[in-house]
């Protein structure tokens, strides 16, 4: 694929992400993501943050190799690795800004401390390490510029900064694993182990090194330059050792916890685990163990892709899939969620491409050997640089197509007719079913509902709406209690006008002010005259609601009835048969009486 096509594709992904981000900020997390109370962490946190940071480990590993172990042959890979770390951490932080519920408070952990929280450690280490990567990368950008003194200062502090960076990375890569130590009961035992911190850092280091190998291969290919195969195969060999160590530790952990049998249990979790171990451990090891394959760019790329996919899968397993085990919990990422998950790394990739074109990142690349001066602003042809906007028309066209498409995809109901259709009563329905068995109060219990009767009394065809609202999908009828609420209080279906008329008649009020005189019959307070200060229905309708009486046929039972008649009677009868505690006993409910 041509480099410009790659950029177009990334641009499309970025646009989708931008729309998703806008919707997330406007509508909140519930409307844009598939997150639930059971699965509170989704793609943005687990893929963009936990996994994204894992594949950006190349920066600190290469810094370790070059600045601590002084392996000169790996030096060509240091700069791309540092850039990967800077952009990887930057995009993880960006994703987190959209993931946390209150993004404007992202700075809170700087002032409010809980040093016992692993997330607190992760926050601080990532924040500091991101600063460190910025310090590490900025000399590359400043080379050949006029800021010579700044560059000199940055170079002087370079060594200590690298050491600080490596330390911070070690800490937060273990802490990222420790994050999940809080779930000994909720996380699936296939993944929950006290060794998570060690497993996380090993898998991150191995996959992160192979990520640098992949990026270097890709850059060499795009720019038609020979890849520095000696350095690459050396790095890949080291990565293989680390991944081998990780795989060995995983197996030892299963053996140690006695969980080895679970791997081949056939559960879907176990199958995902096998896939993960194949991608993250077995496949790259098999490829990289052969010295001849280590020198082939294709084999290196294959091993790299396997390991990077494997480490992402490992993080998703621990962070999301391992929490689904209860069965009740589901997590279906929304389109907008996926779009932002892809859009942010796509933006980072565009930034990577821009950076490597402009600055001397790949030292083996002769074309970029002399840093070019910054392009000036050219309003007639190019706006900024030759990477981002080398073809303004084409990119505008892409934007015009993608943004509306994204809006339609991500905002449910956008473009749907706003005016709802009127409720249509099925013909002949009342004849066929005068009485329906419905789940009237949504408690899973059926009641016989005299539908035809209700319809007649409430006004025929005009009466559908109070219960059936609008004819929208998912719009259910009102629960019974919306009308038949507590019968000893004022009632929402109380027909005030009819009562005024009948009270006037009963009290013998006549004349034009007869209606006004009735107020004080029911409303005993001064003001306001509303449902709150009205007498209870039962004060007049005593006969209808006598507790001794069976509940009137068309009125709902109150709790007293339910408990005394429906519950107590049955419990009396059943208690003797079953020998279980006698819940119908008066003392069950009235212990002191």
């Amino acid at each position: 694929m041509k480099a410009s096509r790659v950029r177009d594709l990334l641009f499309v992904l970025v646009l989708f992400g931008v729309v998703a981000a806008a919707i997330r900020l406007a509508e909140g997390l519930g409307a844009t993501t598939g997150l639930t109370d059971e699965i509170p962490w989704g793609l943005w946190k687990v893929v963009n943050m936990v996994a994204g940071v894992a594949i950006a480990t190349g920066g600190f590993v290469m810094a370790f190799a070059v600045h601590v172990l002084h392996i000169e042959s790996l030096k060509p890979l240091l700069r791309p690795a540092l850039l990967t770390a800077f952009l990887g951490y930057g995009s993880s932080c960006a994703a987190l800004l959209f993931d946390i519920g209150l993004p404007h408070r992202f700075w809170h952990p700087i002032f409010y401390w809980n040093e016992h929280s692993f997330l607190f450690e992760v926050f601080w280490c990532v924040l500091l390490y991101f600063t460190v990567t910025a310090l590490e990368v900025s000399p590359i950008a400043l080379e050949g510029s006029k800021f010579k003194r700044v560059l000199g200062f940055l170079r002087k502090i370079g060594g200590p900064v690298m050491i600080v960076g490596i330390t911070l990375s070690t800490l937060h890569h273990t802490s990222l694993g420790s994050l999940f130590l809080v779930s000994p009961t909720r996380l699936h035992p296939l993944w929950y182990t006290p060794w998570l911190p060690a497993l996380f850092i090993l898998s991150a280091v191995g996959a992160g090194m192979l990520m640098v190998v992949l990026l270097t291969l890709a850059a060499a290919r795009v720019r038609r330059q020979p890849a520095p195969i000696a350095a690459l195969s050396k790095a890949a060999g080291a990565a293989a050792i680390v991944l081998g160590l990780h795989l060995a530790l995983r197996i030892a952990d299963f053996a140690n916890r006695g969980a080895a049998g679970m791997i081949f249990s056939g559960q879907w979790e176990a199958n995902v685990l096998i896939l993960e171990l194949l991608a993250l451990g077995v496949a790259p090891l098999a490829i990289l163990a052969v010295p001849r394959l280590r020198r082939s760019t294709k084999a290196l790329a294959a091993a790299g892709i396997c390991a990077v996919a494997g480490v992402i899968l490992y993080r998703v397993d621990v962070g999301i899939l391992g929490y689904l085990r209860s069965g009740a919990a589901t997590y279906r990422p929304s389109l907008a969620e996926i779009a932002l998950t892809l859009g942010i790394p796509a933006a980072a990739a565009l930034a990577f491409l821009w950076f490597v074109t402009r600055f001397k990142v790949f030292t083996f690349d002769r074309r970029a050997a002399a840093p070019r001066s910054v392009t000036s602003f050219e309003p007639m042809t190019r706006v900024w640089s030759d990477v981002f906007l080398d073809n303004t028309d084409r990119l505008s066209l892409i934007a015009v197509v993608v943004i509306p498409l994204a809006l339609v995809l991500f905002v449910p109901g956008l473009g749907a007719a706003e005016t709802p259709a009127a409720v249509q009563a099925p013909r002949g329905m009342d004849e066929a079913r005068a009485v329906l068995l419905i789940d009237g109060d949504r408690d899973g219990r059926g009641v016989l509902f005299p539908h035809a009767d209700h319809k007649e009394r409430l006004g025929g065809e005009q009466s559908c709406a109070p219960c059936h609202h609008l004819d929208r999908p998912g719009d259910r009828y009102s629960s019974c209690h919306h009308c038949h609420a507590a019968m000893d209080g004022s009632r929402p279906i109380f027909d005030h006008r009819a009562h005024v008329a009948s009270v006037a008649k009963r009290e013998g009020f006549t004349g034009s002010l007869a209606g006004n005189r009735t107020c004080s019959v029911c409303h005993l307070g001064d003001s306001p005259k509303n449902g709150e200060d009205a007498k209870d229905c039962v004060s007049c309708h005593r006969e209808d609601m006598r507790m001794e009486k069976e509940p009137p046929s068309r009125l709902a039972t109150g709790y007293v009835h339910a408990l005394h008649a429906s519950c107590a009677g049955c419990h009396d009868a059943k208690a003797a048969e079953s020998g279980r505690p006698h819940l119908g006993d008066c003392a069950t409910c009235h212990p002191e009486e």
Partner: protein, 254 residues
Amino acid sequence: MKAILHDVTRCTGCMRCVEACVADNKLMVDPREARFTRGPLSGERYTTIEEINGRFVRRQCVHCLEPSCVSACLVGALTKTPEGPVVYDASKCIGCRYCMLSCPYTAIRYQWKSALPFIRKCDLCYDRPEGPVCVGACPHQATLFGEREELLAVARERIRKEPDRYIDHVFGEREAGGASVLYLSDIPLPFMPETPREASIPELTLPLAKATPFMGLGVASILVGTSFVIARRNRLAEERARNAGNEGGNGSES
């Protein structure tokens, strides 16, 4: 320390506790809606009644004695008060939802529908002098409020008096390090976590969290040491090579 004892065998599922809680905390426009519709814990329900195996089991935040949410919250927005309740300071929260992930009871809820959402959970009505409103609303004394030690004694007394009525176990006494909400039941309660050796979750994580700064210092000093040693060895090797080369060169010249 204050606590709640919930007797599953006494609860009739009348939902008055839920209605009272919803009304007192102003969680829904119409509290009756809460009473007449069963539903799980949510941003609009700090407590609810779940039907488990034909029994009515009240669910709420159990206010663990050593809460993992408190240890998990990175800004310290959640605290365990000495009186018992685990309370939430909304002004600190950033919305990371790590407390929800860490809760062994999955009892913390989020305002998913809001654009600026907060955590929602029972706070044991810590600012209400007469005790939790749900307990006062219970018409059958299925829920009691009081000192934890006293309630444990009540629970054991009830089990002793009616051994056939209950499982001989006070749920919440030791699970995940113990909780301030206790249950008496005649059926097993599936939401009770089974942590290893009944340890609390902070017991599992705190030692590691406390060791981390020292780990950092250790790593940094190892790095500096290694870097120095290898650099010195390289320099010496170079010097030796140069000396050897110089000698060789000198020798050939003379």
